[in-house]
Amino acid sequence: MLLAEGLRHSFGAVRALDDISFTLQAGQTLAVFGPNGAGKTTLLKVLAGLIQPRAGRAQIDGGRGAVGWIGHQPQLYGHLTVRENLRFWGSLYDVPAAEQSRRETDLLARLDLNAHATRPVRALSRGLVQRVAIARALIHDPRVLLLDEPFTGLDRTAAEEFRRLLAEQAADGGGRVTVLVTHNVEEGTELATDVAFMRAGRFAELAPRAGRGAVAIADAYRRAVTGG
């Protein structure tokens, strides 16, 4: 379970989060849409515990170890191979050796990375690097996924693959909690069980997706964020 309660944070005079509250249960995926500077990344960082909010609290069952983060930066070491990166991150999460090996094999196969396992990350294309970043985020089998503009830099095919994988992950093993933030309504709608529109640090709207498609969500987003 993920709980956010009365989150407030600011950077100097800029209010990044202003009274954000929500609760997500296993299997729920919240897509947060908002323009640049709305406070989306700050929200994710506060949820992850990377930023201490000025007020309110964020709580994740299982703590930091239960979080998997996928952002537009892959958090990988370019001079290490794909497998070495996965081993390193797995070791920080105390994944047992046998389990680590099993997950590596599984993730490399599912993400079609077997042919690249022994190549240094810096030699891979942007799309492949993003796939490795996904494997890195999933190597410790996190119960909560925090996704920060994860489609940035991916071509249409890679983005489609990634969306499919995220949908699988959201439903996998009794369900994960997922929070996806993006400025692009097209990208996250299909994955979401709930949607929020964010403007100037506030949720202008937070509601279940209720079967709405990208077009309906885009209309609602425009009304909520621009007032148009």
């Binding site: 960082k45 170890g65 958090q75 290490l80 390193f88």
Partner: protein, 223 residues
């Protein structure tokens, strides 16, 4: 804590072994500085043994700075630092891992630099090798401990490579003075007891600043 620190240190050393950028720069820098000092001095004016301790420590200090600069720059590549902070690893483990990697790195540069120094300046070091290594080890732990902390503080600033020496050098003055004095006593063939006072001061500096760095490090990496 030690296990995670070791994983981090091993990763840093592996990355450095693969890229060889900082270690090569530091070694080349060491060789160049020693050569410049060797050919630039007038041996009839000042005896090598009088000049040697200062040159040794100036060389090691600035070579170490190159290593310290890269310690956290590596983590900014692809925002890996956020990944480290997100992992269920204590901040102290991250500091300890960086400290171990930096110590290995600087020790490697010093291991290359010391024989070259003896060769260029014709200073006999074999008969004082044990105490000399103790001086180098104690001084290195002190400035690498402080340097690792400041490297974390400055890594996310725009002028990290400029800021690090500006912040670090004032803190390095006391241990450097003690290291130079201890080294001078050893090279001059004075009894070991004359250097033990400096060694004690270096050890005290290490204990105080390693502890302080452990306490302060979490505040330097939190947003």
């Amino acid at each position: 804590m030690w296990r995670h620190a070791w994983y981090l240190a091993r990763k840093d050393l592996l990355v450095e072994f693969r890229s060889r950028t900082a270690i090569l720069s530091a070694v080349v820098f060491t060789v160049l500085v020693l050569m410049v000092f060797n050919f630039g001095r007038d041996p009839t004016a000042v005896a090598a043994v009088d000049l040697a301790p200062s040159i040794l420590w100036v060389t090691f200090t600035f070579a170490a700075m190159l290593a310290l600069n890269r310690a956290f720059q590596l983590e900014l590549e692809n925002q890996a630092l956020d990944g480290l902070l997100l992992a269920p690893v204590s901040r102290s483990s991250i500091y300890l891992g960086k400290l171990i990697a930096n110590l290995v790195f600087v020790a490697t540069v010093e291991a290359v630099g010391l024989p070259l120094f003896a060769l260029f300046f014709n200073v006999p070091i074999l008969h004082v090798l044990g105490p000399l290594v103790a001086v180098i080890a104690l001084a290195t732990v002190g400035f690498v401990a402080v340097g690792t902390l400041f490297s974390a503080m400055t890594a996310r600033t725009r002028f990290a490579e400029l800021l690090l020496p500006v912040l670090l050098l004032p803190f390095m003055i006391p241990p450097l003075i003690w290291a130079v004095l201890a080294t001078a006593a050893l090279f001059a063939g004075r009894p070991l007891s004359e250097a033990t006072g400096w060694l004690r001061l270096l050890a005290a500096f290490d204990i105080v600043f390693v502890m302080l760095a452990f306490v302060l490090f979490p505040a330097t990496v939190n947003e």
